[in-house]
């Protein structure tokens, strides 16, 4: 087996049409970002699935931990007044 250094991992994001968000579609190995972009083109948009591609080396993504939910997300749940449905409208006004 070759002694070549394993290629770093890249995450691939595709925007299916202008006006939409880029969405994560998968990952692949490449030596650099430029090559990752070419591989992503060959692998993920063979049928016109995308108008724009992003690649980013996986190690540059910092992820939240679901297991930390209690301390990380919970403070958001005790502010119901952030939601429109928190406020009652007079009967005469049925939509706002």
């Amino acid at each position: 087996m070759s002694k070549t250094k394993p290629m770093p991992l890249f995450e691939v994001f595709v925007r299916s049409r202008r006006g939409l968000d880029h969405i994560h579609v998968g990952s692949l190995h490449a030596h650099d970002a430029e090559q990752a972009l070419e591989y992503a083109r060959d692998s993920y948009i063979r049928r016109g699935e995308g108008a724009s591609l992003w690649v980013v080396e996986s190690k540059h993504i910092t992820a939240s931990q679901e297991s930390d939910a209690a301390s990380f997300y919970d403070p958001m749940d005790d502010k119901p007044y952030r939601h429109a449905t928190y406020y009652t409208l007079p009967d005469a006004v049925d939509n706002m």
């Binding site: 087996m1 070759s2 070549t4 250094k5 394993p6 290629m7 991992l9 579609v25 998968g26 990952s27 692949l28 190995h29 030596h31 650099d32 090559q35 060959d42 692998s43 063979r46 049928r47 992820a63 931990q65 679901e66 297991s67």
Partner: protein, 312 residues
């Protein structure tokens, strides 16, 4: 509060019960992880090894159109391998380890690819029957409990229906042709039918990993159920183009609402699985050779990348 091992296990089981997906960073039992690595890598190897019997016909396709189609299909198979290797890698194994396991015979791939594609009709039969059987299995796996595997399956199923239709169309054309062409189609049907049924694996009672995989929702339907589904959908397709399925026990069963069919030759199944099918050695040797022949490309790319980053 400190999570105990049991808490993790309870949370894992709650997610499985609630049809929530398990994601890469979640705690999971070691046996669940191992089972997934085995199944997903075997699936990935199958996609890649599956390129070989079809590649055999690339330079001999009967027209430029057929050649372009076959090339596009084989490219898809390589892509499917990539999606699946990536899903397996989220479980903490490297691509190099997976390929090494294949080369050393520790990992398997679908036995069907150990059969040779000896005529052009075989390319039709592979697309129609082999990819058809794979789709039945893969549709069910879109609901598998491991998130990255399920997402790879969704992507693959979208592309796979092109494969099945192009194969069936080859069979349609041959079946409409002259006597020799019809005979070629029938011959391919006869050689690929039983190996296609074997793709679903042993009977449920004898399947080594089935019971635990069903409990963990890695597998969503049993081998025998999926096999029945494939037979039921394929019989009318064969009848429509005048091909005869090589099974004298094949008969519609009104009471069951399914076709009855004969039993697989399990001796042949075991022989091919254990490495003694028509092309087992050839397939593996070719993969090793292709990998080794490509080493200079990987070395060159690695050297180029190193030169681009002098400070790294």
């Amino acid at each position: 509060m400190q999570n105990t091992h049991t808490d993790f296990e309870t949370q894992f089981e709650r997610k499985i019960d609630a049809e929530e997906k398990i994601e890469p960073k979640d705690w999971m039992p070691e046996a669940y992880r191992k089972n997934l690595v085995r199944q997903i890598s075997q699936h990935a190897h199958s996609e890649v090894i599956g390129m070989q019997p079809e590649g055999n016909w690339l330079t001999r396709a009967p027209s430029l159109k057929r050649k372009c189609i076959l090339l596009a299909k084989i490219q898809d198979e390589g892509g499917h391998g990539l999606y699946l290797y990536s899903a397996a890698e989220t479980l903490g194994v490297t691509r190099e380890e997976l390929v090494e396991a294949l080369h050393e015979g520790r990992a398997k791939y679908a036995s069907i690819f150990n059969y040779p594609a000896v005529t052009w009709a075989d390319i039709g039969a592979i697309g129609w029957l082999v990819d058809g059987a794979a789709i039945v299995n893969q549709i069910s796996l879109q609901r598998t409990s491991y998130g990255p595997y399920a997402r790879a399956m969704v992507r693959i199923c979208k592309e796979e229906s092109f494969h099945q239709r192009q194969g069936y169309e080859i069979m349609v054309k041959l079946a409409e042709g002259n006597a020799a062409q019809k005979a070629m189609a029938q011959d391919a049907m006869e050689r690929w039918w039983w190996p296609s049924l074997m793709m679903f694996g042993p009977h449920d009672a004898e399947s080594a990993h089935s019971a635990q995989s069903m409990l963990w929702k890695i597998k969503r339907q049993s081998n025998d159920n999926l096999r029945q589904k494939f037979v039921d959908q394929t019989v009318p397709q064969a009848e429509a183009i005048g091909l005869t399925i090589p099974d004298k026990d094949l008969k519609w069963n009104e009471a069951r609402g399914h076709y009855d069919f004969g039993d697989i030759d399990w001796d042949e199944f075991n022989r091919v699985v254990s490495g003694n099918g028509p092309c087992n050695r050839q397939r593996l040797q070719h993969h090793v050779k292709a990998h080794e022949d490509g080493a200079w490309v990987r070395d060159a790319m690695s050297a180029y990348a190193a030169r681009q980053q002098p400070n790294a």
